[in-house]
Amino acid sequence: MDDDKIPMKKHMTINRRSFLAAGLAAAVGAAAKPAQALAGGVADAGKSEAVVLATLLDLSKCIGCGACVEACREASAQRFPEPVKPFPKMYPSRVKAADWSDKRDVDDRLTPYNWLYIQTASGEYDGRPFELNIPRRCLHCQNPPCANLCPWGAASKDGRGIVAINDEICLGGSKCKDVCPWHIPERQTGVGLYLKLAPSFAGNGVMYKCDRCQDRVAAGGTPACIKACPEGVQTIGPRDEIRAKARKLADEIGGLIYGDTENGGTNTFYVSPVPFDVLNKTVETGPGRPHLASVANPFSTEDILARAVYAAPLAGLAAGALHLIRGAASEDDHE
């Protein structure tokens, strides 16, 4: 088998949530269908034929050579920002430019020019010293806050489990970074659509992050970082299979998984022989350097409220119809 090809197994899942969504799709079908056609017929609520892919990172294998970082840079170079300078003056003055264009070589944190870096954790666990290297990038959440809350439709998730930011329409408001529990996206000022709108008053550039080589994956290829790794740290495949592999590996080495349930579930599974709360205390965190703490599902309330939103028009309609019928009956009584 060509090692650049991802093993895929098409599947179709229907559960209560997707059933509800499909029901709503039918209810709003008349208006939604033209838009679906506009979108190339890819809108497929409730019956995804695409395969959600996930990655498994066996941290016990990573030697921190940086081959993945280098490969990511090469593969993404064409999409790196080329900002126009000087930057537009921004109002109010507290809005600061984010400029990494003169620091393109920085590779010890995430930047608009470095979408993957190696984080190092060292210390002592169970009476034994450890040193682990952790490739850090976007985890590609199953229910990504960046995509759900982007008010401009610039960030979205696709059926292959990839979360990507469209650099042609992103305005660089950095909301995606604020709502991401790991603050992954990084901003570059002086580039993008905002320059053509009201650059002094709205927007501030474009947000950049790993898109797990979306174009390559769409063509059936493998993300550059996975292909370049000499140690086979990363594996990619259908999420269910990768999850099972991650659990098996964790059992074998007596390790733990990070990414399975974090933030409501992600498409990245880190497996480590050292607990992640221990690692989290030893890694350097801060701007561009994400933590490894546990993260609860931020949309648990919205998931419940969504059902109320679906049911509300029907409840109102029933009440309105009842009101009309009662009114008509009352008129009949008067006659």
């Binding site: 899942t13 969504a21 995804s48 008010p151 309330t301 969504a306 028009p313 109102g316 009309l324």
Partner: protein
């Protein structure tokens, strides 16, 4: 509940929806509103998102309740345009709620189109409501 109270609830709901909708844009922190004592919550995206969902449910109950009455009424061109704006806001809003379900996928182009359409219909709704009010010189409700 009388018509006057219903209208008041409707107007407050629409205002709150507008506010929490605009709070989804990173503008309240940038333009100092969140700095005003007691208004820090306006820059809390998650809180405003939850509020927007809850308020949307209230609005949809109201619109659903009005629908049988609306079907019976005699429509003016202005009223019809207003109703179409409402339909656009509601449908794009519902699709946005669907989009936020973890196992529902839309193409990026469709997501962008729906997000822009939702914003566009809200703007249009405001413009049409204002236009009707100016044209008639009377108090007209924003409800279809």
């Amino acid at each position: 509940m009388n018509e006057r109270t219903m209208n008041l609830i409707f107007r407050l709901t629409v205002f709150a929806l507008l506010f929490t909708g605009f709070a989804q844009m990173p503008i309240f922190a940038r333009y100092y509103l969140a700095d005003v004592p007691g208004f820090a919550w306006t820059a809390d995206y998650y809180l405003n998102h939850v509020l927007h969902y809850g308020l949307a449910a209230v609005l949809l109950v109201f619109l659903g309740w009005r629908l049988p009455l609306a079907v019976k009424r005699r429509w003016t061109p202005g009223g019809l345009l207003l109703a179409m704006c409402w339909a656009g806001v509601v449908l794009t809003g519902l699709v946005r709620v669907m989009k936020n379900q973890p196992d529902v996928f839309f193409s990026p182009t469709f997501v962008m189109a729906v997000d822009w359409a939702h914003l566009g219909f809200v703007m249009l709704l405001g413009a049409v409501s204002l236009g009707r009010r100016l044209a008639t010189g009377n108090r007209v409700t924003a409800a279809p």
